[in-house]
Symmetry: C4
Subunit: 203 residues, 4 copies
């Protein structure tokens, strides 16, 4: 099967290389929070004039991330966004994906985070956060599993427990989701549901 | 002619390297079905507010794929999409390209597939399917030629007969179309129609 | 000056490596015609619903190409597009750039080409054409300078006199424009106008 | 921590490699001016029909650049754009980011530059300019710190004091901003504000 090793713009993550420390942290995660711009998107922001002359901001989300978040919710793992920007596109994407927490418009993210902890009654160790820029670092310093995307600022990567192989808007969130689902033991039922195991391997 | 070997973001597929097994499978194909997000597009989803406050989802399709599907239809090979998402952009793209089957909005794709088989009265061996994520695998396990795009999830590539060299939204569908057209014997008339053979080679 | 050798997604063309044959062909060019999708754009097509439920197609053009076409027009070299698709975005882009010929909506491009020749009273040798797919090849077989973009189909590159180092929507048109302007002797006045020569080199 | 060295499409700038000459120039900067297309964006321009049939141009800006410009303003360094094109998207982006100067629609940029100098009463040495194409060179020949983005035309890079490692619309502006903030001594307080120093390093 030629071409099999060619993966285009998609870097295939080798989960066997994820360190034991990351797996131990991932085993405790019950809530995955994330930044939006540069994490659920590649960081590009577009502006169009709206009907009243107001600007409409829009941006691009990724379908692999979407299915990953769907897997999470089916497994009982909650998700949410904490973003410095407030935009229709984020609200809509979070609604469609049935994310539990949507906090937008605050550059200082700790108050939103504390409201969320209060609501879900989880300890810091049960929370993962995925970020890319300086405003995400105060959260990195609290959560059980701090993940920087491949396109994060260098200083942000330094503060992370885990740096994704994939970039924001191109599968970085799916990568973290899969690490958590695997560590939590939810992966084999998903593989089975989609006929990826216990189905005759085609040949 | 300098620059001739430089192919930018386009990986030139070497059809002579396609295996005999793939060619034998391609010889039987009369219908090419495909997923949309990550296959006909690069998987990026944009959202804009519509006139009633509803969200409008849009995404980017590829012109090389478009001409390839036109070649298919001219050769009597039918095409269609089976997508988990329902969107105006997909409906419009499928209509413009004159695809025969447009099934949207079902994460479980087997029922749509069975309706299509019922309608076109073709056996599994006469169908190719192009996919990128877990929801496509049950179809891979049925069709005669299962193709994963270069940006497919690693588990999905493992279940495919063929993995494209090109990524979704960047020529992956054109690549599968050309393999089928070549295996079916439709390629030389196309080359002739566009003066690529039996025309004086310019020099 | 660190970073000077790093060119990101931009491949710096070395004009000294352009062959003598290409330069001889470029010396005669008075009109540069081009395809749109995959040439003035990267081939991606987006669809949005319009006010009457009709679809609006849009796509992305490149600012470097735009300034290159402005240089052409200032030097008295005419330009135009011959595209298989008809879209508002192309009409608008051609209008803004003051291109002379805008033919859209015909997969067969020879009749449009002949109308243009009739109008401008130029011989084939005075025309360059830039294309990326099979529908462009009949024109390649007529014009004095046939250019395929880096992302053109392999068969199309084979029929071209020149293959650009840059991809469509990312400077391919600027590259052809500069080859023609240099061959025609228009380059030094442009460099002078923008203080690139006969200005003290900053250091 | 596997994956730590993988940076996806983000090239991590090594500020220790910035030359002493650039640092000396950056120490004097109190105003950062920049082109828009190809600098604050990747140079791609999209067109949609507006409600009156007029065209709406839009383009993509970068979230890392946005936070960088926010850091500048907080440190009392002014910013502005001088662009050959006039567009709603630029006006909106500049407004949101609270840039001081927004000049659009003039291919000749010197008059706008002189109006700005008149207004802010700064000498040439206190101004940085970031550009990518020929229209930016006359400004390069005046300002204290002339920066070309990685995707700038080769002739433009030759005239620059500094060439960014990152491309326009993908962090080039953030890179220049950080060089200036570091040279001016504003970096440590920013690191402290976001808990990047004097916080327990997580491990």
């Amino acid at each position: 099967m030629w071409g099999e090793k060619m993966t285009g713009n998609n870097f295939d993550v080798n989960y066997e290389m994820v360190s034991g420390d990351i797996i131990k942290r991932a085993e405790k995660i019950a809530l995955i929070l994330m930044d939006v711009d540069g994490v659920l998107t590649d960081g590009t922001l577009f502006y169009l004039p709206g009907p009243n002359g107001d600007a409409i901001e829009f941006k691009g989300f990724n379908s692999h991330d979407g299915l990953g978040l769907h897997f999470c919710h089916a497994a009982g793992i909650k998700t949410g966004v904490i973003s410095g920007r407030d935009s229709f596109a984020t609200t809509e994407r979070a609604r469609m994906l049935k994310m539990t927490y949507v906090y937008q418009g605050h550059l200082k993210k700790i108050p939103s985070y504390e409201e969320i902890l209060q609501d879900c009654q989880l300890p810091n160790e049960a929370v993962a956060f995925i970020g890319d820029d300086f405003t995400d670092v105060p959260l990195f310093n609290r959560v059980g599993l701090a993940c920087a995307v491949a396109n994060a600022r260098p200083e942000v990567k330094q503060q992370a427990h885990y740096v994704t192989a994939q970039t924001g808007g191109n599968g970085a969130v799916r990568e973290v989701v899969e690490i958590v689902l695997k560590a939590r033991g939810f992966w084999p039922p998903i593989l089975k549901q989609y006929e990826l195991i216990e189905s005759a391997k085609i040949s």
